[in-house]
Amino acid sequence: MNLVYAASACVAIAATVMVITRRNAVHALLYLVVSLLAVAVIMLLLGAAFVAALEIIIYAGAIMVLFVFVIMLIGPRNDTVNPRTWVGPVILGLVLLAELVYVITSGKATSVAVKEVTPRQVGIALLGPYLIGVEVTAFLLLAGLVGAFHLGRRLAVSLGRKGD
């Protein structure tokens, strides 16, 4: 298990180093997705399966797609679509795939010494003692929604189109 942990930690750090050194934003995003997947593996090893799934769905899924939208709106550079771009992220992703195969075939995944915190416990804590936090988060998301909408309308105006 320590081997799997060390491998995913190395993948996460290597991918993050690649993110902050790329010139092209699309390349950086590809590496960041790999980095987030590796961090999700670490969370899985720490017994936080629910949060690992959230990390992939929301971070690597939703937030990265927002970044891709914005990069496409700004206008990608010509060398964005290049087969060699994929080599680095694919190699790092293959390391994660090898970990997956290793954990499944070795059958050691069920004997993790870490005490798992189940989604049930998380839900009870979230809607029990932390209920006020959930409500504040709802306000925050509403503020983000209104702010993004307002800025988007100003953007439409400054591009010379009518708002809405």
Binding site: I13, V39, I58, Y59, I63, V70, V117, L141
Partner: protein, 117 residues
């Protein structure tokens, strides 16, 4: 079958946070700065998960969920601001977008004339 030591998890979180911080300080493209802020937020979330796993409590994961929704709100507003800046200045270099820059002054005067500022 040893479990992952507590310190190693925190070390990885600290390393990721430092990388994000270096990115924020070194890069000048606003899009990359926002990406690096995401890296830092993610590293902080990983630290929460490590601590929650260490004590076997759900609080760490609850904090991560709050962090996740905060990151989503922050990215939505941040990216909208970046698009707005790009549509006005055709540039995302944080050094070129200073308050005192000539470009910005022209923009303010133009807006003032139009009665939009």
């Amino acid at each position: 079958m040893a479990s992952v030591p507590f310190e190693y998890g925190l070390a990885v979180a600290a390393a990721l946070f430092l990388l994000g911080l270096v990115g924020v300080l070194v890069r000048r493209n606003l899009l990359f700065i926002l990406l690096c802020v995401e890296i830092m937020l993610n590293a902080a979330g990983l630290a929460f998960i490590v601590a929650g796993s260490r004590w076997g409590q759900a609080d760490g994961q609850v904090m991560f969920i709050f962090l996740l929704s905060m990151a989503a709100a922050e990215v939505a507003v941040g990216l909208a601001l970046i698009l707005l800046l790009y549509s006005r200045h055709k540039d995302l270099d944080s050094d070129a977008l200073g308050v005192g820059s000539v470009q910005d002054e022209d923009e303010r005067q133009r807006l003032a004339r139009r009665g939009d500022a």
